[in-house]
């Protein structure tokens, strides 16, 4: 009886959360600008990333979408000449605040890159890399558990479970990218940033990764940069359109692809430029 109550309570809370999740803002960009040396690459971007949703950033090459993405976990810090203005918050906390440890931030906001970049280590070590650095597993068994569940979540477990000790670089491109996603998941981030994760993959591998993104949405908040309109339409709930360093328009994906407010968005989506 007692158990029943607890479970129903949990369900109720869960339902409520699901219902409300559309409104929860996970990350918020407020007048974000980025300079590379003297050149300004991004101007006054105001963009919200919502919890447990996939936000797609689209726009022609050089429009600043990758730049914005890299601001979200401060990867721009690794570029000497880059300077970021404005404010970005994660759970209402300014991530560019002096008190924020960038290393901790990147553990909470993980990243998957355009080109699959597994380390020249075994598949197991690739996934175990993050947890080991952050001390997430005390014993070997815990680590095995993390590796297995991460690989399962990244939908690659069945393909690699028999060869965990082989080098990650020996996998195919699509498998490598899913390995990189598993590697990102392994540190249990809250947000996963994906920078054109499928641009180096063939259509079948792309379909696998897209499917995976949709599944991951249950547990993670995802921001994805893509060049493919179809991909944005398929995987995302919200879409933001960038052009020449400005955020042109942002809204629900359905609406963006049917009745965009801005003419530039319409032109880009229908293939008139880009």
């Amino acid at each position: 009886m007692n158990i029943m109550t607890e479970q129903s309570l949990e369900n109720a809370v869960g339902d409520k959360m699901n219902a409300k999740s559309n409104e929860v803002i996970k990350m918020r960009g407020d007048k974000v600008g980025v300079f590379y040396g003297e050149k300004q690459a991004l101007f006054d971007v105001n963009l919200d990333v919502r919890l447990n949703q996939v936000t797609a950033l689209i726009g022609p090459s050089g429009c600043g979408k990758s730049t914005f993405l890299r601001c979200l976990n401060r990867m721009n810090d690794t570029i000497d000449s880059a300077r970021v203005t404005g404010k970005i918050t994660l759970d209402e906390e300014d991530i560019y605040d002096k008190n924020i440890d960038v290393v901790e931030l990147r553990a909470r906001v993980g990243m998957v890159f355009q080109k699959p970049n597994p380390f020249p280590k075994s598949i197991y070590e690739n996934v175990a890399y993050g947890p080991r650095i952050h001390g997430l597993a005390k014993r070997k068994a815990d680590m095995d558990q993390i590796v297995e569940s991460s690989l399962k979540k990244a939908a690659i477990w069945n393909e690699v479970k028999d060869r965990l000790q082989e080098p990650g670089t020996g996998l195919s491109g699509g498998q490598q990218q899913r390995l990189c996603i598993a590697r990102a998941i392994a540190v249990s981030p809250e947000v996963i940033l994906m920078d054109e994760p499928c641009s180096a993959l063939d259509p079948i591998a792309t379909a696998r990764v897209e499917e995976l993104i949709d599944e991951l949405r249950q547990n993670y908040t995802i921001v994805i940069v893509t060049h493919s309109m179809q991909q944005a339409a398929r995987v995302s709930q919200r879409t933001a359109m960038f052009h020449l360093g400005y955020l042109v328009e942002e809204g629900a994906t359905d609406k963006m692809f049917t009745t965009p407010d801005d003419k530039r968005t319409q032109d880009y989506i229908t293939g008139r430029f880009g």
Binding site: N73, M75, T78, D80, V103, E104, L105, R106, A107, R108, G110, M111, V112, F113, K115, N117, P118, F119, P120, K121, Y129, G130, I133, H134, P167, T169, C180, R183, A184, V187
Partner: protein
């Protein structure tokens, strides 16, 4: 005719052929047929055909005629007897040749009335600035005169043949010129052979070096057994007394080999950590400003001649360490003025820029994607370096270290000055020891009979050293190659 003049004429013929060829090819291009090769390729082809075969013949002719001349002189010399005045047959021939060269300086009048005795001839030659050995004999004068005549005839005949060949080559190439003839492919095929020849030179030189050392080494092993050489623990070659054969000396390689490896090991212990850390700093942390100052400064260090390091060691560091150790014990110094430690330390400093420069290039070559991947997972910079970049760069770094080790083993001057020339066998790093290279220099300098084991041992040592560094380089290349593409 002198070879230089022939060479100049051949090149001139080639140039003329080049211009004519280019001109003819250009003139043939009337726009009806698309020419296969552009005009200058026809020019180059004519140049090459005019010059290359002629030059080859010139080289063969020069070698051939000098051999022929030697044999001629040889045959003309009187039979050697016990009381011949000249020490050896080879000396005989070379005396005649230098006499012949001297005679060329004289004018025609003097030559016509040449004195028959060397005593009279010598002042005439000396007046022209030709100094000759005093054991030149009278009977050599007619032989030398005859040799000069033969040489003139050979030279003239050769020049005519070579120039004819050159002109024939030029004509052949010029006749070939047609819109569809493939001068471009011909020129490129020849270039290919030229490149091949260039790359062969290094290999052939190596083979030559090995062979020359090998034969001397074999001679050495005829008087000293390989067992005594490779496993002997005492190095005491003595001096080669005349006629004694000199084989009573002891030629144990072990003390020298141990010294070589010991000093190299100390040097690497200094150079590898410091060099690697400076490479990591420069590749990963230094701002472009700092890097642009520090890297050239470090590389400047690599340009200092090793003898300067040696002087520093023997004048400054050695005495300093000795005094320091004396002060520490309050009495007798436990570090000698010349020691393994001093030599290793200074050599290590010398090798720092080598390690750091090579490793810096290797670390910078690790793809940025690796760094991003690790940083994106929340690793710090130093974690990224430790766990991703260094492992990825490791094969290259190992290769760099082995190359550095080869240099440490081959180093001579620092050791001579800083560690001395005493061939001890010790494990105390504060005592003097010496290396293979030092002993090679030691055995080859001074007035030693060349055929004695005391001298020949240098070749055996050299060959050992060669084998040692060769093996290390092969291992280095193997490691680098095996793991190179791992992160691509």
């Amino acid at each position: 005719m002198s070879s230089l003049l022939v060479l100049a004429i051949v090149v001139a013929i080639g140039l003329v052929a080049f211009f004519i060829g280019r001109q003819r090819a250009a003139a043939q291009d009337n726009g009806k047929v698309k020419p296969h090769s552009r005009a200058h390729y026809h020019g180059w082809w004519a140049f090459l055909l005019a010059v290359l075969p002629a030059l080859l013949l010139l080289a063969v002719w020069a070698v051939g005629s000098s051999v022929y001349l030697d044999r001629n002189i040889h045959a003309a010399l009187p039979e050697r007897t016990v009381n011949s005045k000249v020490a050896s047959e080879a000396l005989d021939v070379s005396l005649v040749k230098s006499l012949a060269r001297g005679l060329r300086k004289l004018d025609a009048g003097t030559l016509a009335a040449l004195p028959a005795s060397f005593a009279e001839l010598q002042p005439l030659l000396a007046a022209k600035g030709v100094a000759l050995a005093s054991d030149t004999q009278d009977y050599m004068i007619p032989i030398a005169v005859e040799a000069n005549k033969v040489q003139d005839r050979l030279g003239l005949f050769g020049a005519v043949v070579i120039l004819a060949l050159s002109i024939a080559g030029a004509f052949y190439a010029l006749r070939q010129i047609a819109p569809r003839s493939r001068a471009r492919n011909n020129v490129e095929r020849l270039m290919l052979w030229g490149l091949l020849a260039a790359s062969t030179i290094a290999i052939l030189t190596t083979v030559g070096i090995v062979l020359s050392m090998l034969f001397q080494t074999i001679t050495f092993f005829e008087s000293v057994s390989p067992m005594n050489f490779f496993f002997g623990t005492v190095w005491d070659p003595r001096f080669a007394a005349a006629g004694s054969g000199g084989s009573q000396g002891q030629f144990g390689l072990i003390p020298l080999l141990a010294g070589t490896l010991y000093i190299a090991a100390v040097a690497l212990l200094v150079a590898v950590p410091v060099g690697l850390m400076s490479a990591v700093y420069m590749a990963e942390y230094a701002t472009p400003r700092v890097r642009s100052v520090v890297k050239p400064a470090l590389e400047l260090l690599a340009g200092i001649p090793t003898i300067v390091y040696g002087i520093f060691a023997v004048v400054t560091l050695g005495p300093f360490l000795r005094d320091l150790s004396a002060a520490l014990t309050g009495g007798s110094p436990f570090i000698q003025g010349q020691s393994i430690f001093t030599a290793g330390l200074v050599m290590g400093v010398m090798l720092i820029p080598v390690v750091s420069s090579l490793s810096d290039d290797i670390i910078t070559a690790v793809p940025r994607a690796m760094r991003d991947g690790s940083l994106g997972l929340g690793a710090t910079r130093s974690e990224t370096i430790k766990r991703v970049i260094l492992p990825a760069a490791l094969p290259g770094i190992v290769g760099a270290i082995l190359l550095t080790a080869s240099r440490a083993i081959g180093e001579t001057m620092i050791v001579v000055l800083a560690a001395g020339v005493a061939a001890n066998l010790t494990i105390n790093p504060f005592e003097a020891m010496t290396t293979i290279t030092v002993k090679i220099v030691n055995q080859l300098t001074g007035d030693l009979e060349f055929n004695s084991p005391q001298t020949l041992v240098a070749f055996a040592l050299g060959l050992t050293l060669f084998a040692l560094t060769l093996v290390m380089n092969i291992v280095a290349l193997y490691i680098v190659r095996k793991y190179r593409e791992q992160y691509e």
